[in-house]
């Protein structure tokens, strides 16, 4: 720990101001906060709650069902970030479909899925495009590459999401947001500045121990002053304007749409889909997919967990029926999920 981090830690452990609820809205923040044991340093009057920032956790049941339909009914090879493989669909996760013969391959990047399409011209490759502003450029690059090369056997099943309207949906859930550093690296800080104008406070945070400690210390110090605030605590990565080339690329390939968030329902204009010019790469259109609506397990309270309305341990199935080996809700699947993190890192240590 460097000197600055130590100073920040002292500010956190010595905080005596009014009670504060801070919401992190990035799954990697959740993960790192648990990995570092950061919650254990917090005084009683500061609470960190895990919001809807893990793309796996907010991906609805129906999306998994759609992917399984493509794999089993259409014989497509499903390529995906590894986290999605164990997420429960209505009847089974992708791992279950794999046992029934579906081809499911984890990839590091959607660009690897394009490579796979190029190398296997007789196979149909579908990439499961989940993720927020950070991840969307990689999916757009994949589509652009496939289009440029004239590949006919690559498509996306999109569930890309954007944060601005989610923040609006979450207003009032917390006193301050820990904004997701890598989303802002792409999208810039404009939305956060606007939120500040509307009275919503927050800071952009990085992911190292020192960056997280300092970001939380900055929240505590500024909260004492009582005015809404926004601070970029991650300037080595995040510029106010974000990454303009990435923004341009996204705008060229995709457009906003309404989309369903697991547990939060449909949030208007919070999703991204391929523009008409790229329709041939849209798996739903390409395979003439019927409307598939998933049925989530009614006992699961992932939705409330994501909004900070309840803790994972308040859910009846948590830790009993729902465990990382047999997840019921998506928050238990990804290591980033609030429930998995609570379960695995032992919140009651």
């Amino acid at each position: 720990m460097n000197e600055q981090a130590r100073k920040a830690r002292d500010i956190i452990t010595g905080y005596k101001g009014r009670p504060l609820r801070i919401m992190e809205v990035c799954g990697t923040h959740t993960h790192e906060i648990f990995r570092l044991g950061l919650r254990k340093l917090l005084p009683d009057n500061v609470e960190l709650i895990s919001g809807p920032g893990c793309p796996v956790c907010v991906t609805p049941v129906g999306f998994i069902d759609e992917a399984i339909w493509l794999a089993l009914e259409k014989g497509c090879i499903i390529t995906t970030f590894g986290d999605l493989i164990r997420v429960p669909g209505t009847e089974m996760p992708l791992a279950g479909a794999r046992a029934k013969g579906a081809q499911v391959r984890p990839v590091y990047s959607p660009l690897d899925a394009v490579d796979m399409a190029r190398e296997n011209p007789d196979e149909q490759i579908v990439f499961l495009a989940v993720g927020f502003e950070t991840t969307t450029p990689s999916a757009c690059l994949a589509v652009e590459t496939a289009k440029k090369e004239g590949l006919k056997n690559f498509s996306l099943l999109t569930a890309n999401k954007t944060m601005p309207n989610a923040y609006k949906a979450l207003e009032g859930s917390a006193d301050a947001f820990l904004y997701p550093g890598h989303v802002n690296a792409i999208a810039g800080n404009k939305v956060c500045e606007e939120l500040k104008e509307r009275g919503v406070s927050g800071v952009v945070a990085g992911f190292t121990a020192s960056e997280l400690l300092i970001a939380i210390a900055v929240i505590l110090k500024n909260a004492e002053k009582g005015e809404p605030f926004f601070v970029n605590c991650y300037p080595r990565v995040v510029k106010d304007e974000g990454n303009p080339s990435a923004q341009k690329l996204i705008a060229k390939v995709m457009e906003t749409c309404d989309t369903e968030w697991r547990g939060l329902g449909v949030i208007p204009m919070s999703g991204m889909k391929l523009r008409d010019e790229y329709a041939e790469f849209d798996a739903r259109l390409k395979y003439d997919m019927p409307k598939i609506t998933g049925k989530p397990n009614p006992a699961c309270r992932c939705g409330e967990v994501l909004q900070g309305k309840c803790k994972p341990s308040d859910c009846k199935v948590f830790g009993k029926v729902c465990t990382p080996e047999h997840p019921v809700g998506a928050c238990m699947v990804s290591d980033e999920g609030a429930c998995a993190a609570y379960y695995q890192y032992g919140e009651n240590l």
Partner: protein
Amino acid sequence: MSEKTVTLAHGAGGKQTSELIDQVFKAHFSNPKFTADDAAVLDIGEGRLAMSTDGFIVSPFEFNGGNIGKLSICGTVNDLACMGAKPLYLTCAFVIEEGFPMDKLEEIAAAMEKTAAEAGVVIVAGDTKVAGKGQVDKVFITTTGVGRIMDNAHTSGAFAKPGDAVIVTGDIGRHGCTILLARDEFGIDAEVDSDCAPLWGTVESLYSVTDDIHTIRDATRGGVGTVLYEIAEQSKVGVRLNTADIPVDPAVKGVCGMLGLEPLYLACEGRLVIIAPGDKAPALVEKLREGKYSKNAAIIGEITAENAGRVVMETEIGAQTMLPQPGGELLPRIC
């Protein structure tokens, strides 16, 4: 024999089976105990015996630092060594896919010969089956071994006690990382080789320091993290790790960083976790560091009475957190 491959006829029990055995296996496994009779006849002598069996299906079957042959000897020899048993005899059973290159089989047998010699173990019986194309993935090997337990050795996963130190015999996760890279599924390059090694000599050296060793485990599938959870469970104790003290090769760290993996869950095939009284630990580590396969040995934590059944980590910010329980398939976390 570069063009030759294993055929179903090699597994049919006739002349070609004899040829395969003569050319490949006898050439490498020949010893007075390995006869043409139905079973090996062994003079075991007095004392307690340890016996273990293990199946190997690694894909790919060759990797940086070894192949499935070396692995199949190390795996069983190390299981015996963990009980304080000097490995004596080994049997091996092959299931080979039709079409497998004969020269590769030869390389595997040669690696087994070399590793067995180093471990001081004698291969006394073997079996070969050939399965049709696609029925197995290239080659599977099962080895079974017996060893004589030293009179002064009494180890078990149930013997860990509060106040004991947790020692690892080297940097962790290299084998798992090597296999991950060898599969080339994620386009990552790194200079990492498997830690696969026979560890009887390493165990023997411990007993030159003290007999007071409570637990020895080889951290294979599931890695050091899984082994520690098993020990915590079996001994009903807690394990406290100091994150900063766990030796990890920088390249392994780099690969894990790319894929969001935890080195504590990557397999090792030549690393032991040793639990011994805290006051004996420094001398044990000093001794280990003289050894060929344990130069980076380190004390990484201690056994505690509190947090029974759990593995807790002391983190870089001076807080404590639980090591997530291993579970399910190891999937790269990217998103």
